[in-house]
Symmetry: C2
Amino acid sequence: MQFELDRSVAVLERTPSTLRTMLSGLPREWIDATEGPETWSPYDIVGHLIHGERADWIPRARIILAQGANRRFTPFDRLAQFRESQGKSLEQLLDEFARLRAESLTTLAGFELDDARLALEGEHPAFGAVSLRQLLSTWVAHDLGHVAQIARVMAKQYRDAVGPWREYLPVMDR
Amino acid sequence: MQFELDRSVAVLERTPSTLRTMLSGLPREWIDATEGPETWSPYDIVGHLIHGERADWIPRARIILAQGANRRFTPFDRLAQFRESQGKSLEQLLDEFARLRAESLTTLAGFELDDARLALEGEHPAFGAVSLRQLLSTWVAHDLGHVAQIARVMAKQYRDAVGPWREYLPVMDR
């Protein structure tokens, strides 16, 4: 599938309500569940998505669109949520993510992107030249990857409880 | 995590609204996207979950709870949705799933399950003896596995569009 802006925004605008529907009011055991040491819980993932709104997608889009002399992105801190989420409830994080995502999408709409602007490039610290189109595609896929991760982390909590059905549940061993 | 009824119902009751939030009103390309031949789209998966409400979870729980002479489950038709969803819109399927799931959970509550009843067994056509507790755990994990699948199928549509970021997106190659 080719990247298309409307199609992408349709996913991006749904993610906060998807997470709220999946997680709000759930027993705490699900929210804090992980896949083992050094892996993330649903709570951690919501914090990670919040940090992305602040430090990744729109800031990087701005660097690309500015087309200044230095188009190199600031490296993204994949562990920022362990500091920034401290003391916050899941409900606070869900609210914060919804607010920031709405702001991001308002900003994105204001960019009035066309094919020429989507083809502009920035410099990724590891990959080198990347286009705005690739950045926005990654934003969409990143959301969906983390929704899949949350469901997978939760499913795995019942890996033993399902008994022999584990054989029919590939999610348990991904 | 041990199986616990309240904790399980908390997930089961959210799945219809999770799917609605993720999928309702999305451009058709996302709804019909697959991972390739013989794999399922989000549309197909909703139909599969509907068939599960009709033919799998509660009917099997009834067989177990009846403790009759023949406790062998009817094999589940994993492809029923390709027949049963024909001519239905995604919105119709989402409504149907929500209605059937609500009925299933009302029935489940009416079983007044305790540890003794949860330990009762039926006969799975492939696995042999399985407990009601294992069946209900599988219901929860099955929901979550398909939510993860829907998000993964959608993410993969942008596998090429993300360019070099694919390396950072494990969901693309699961």
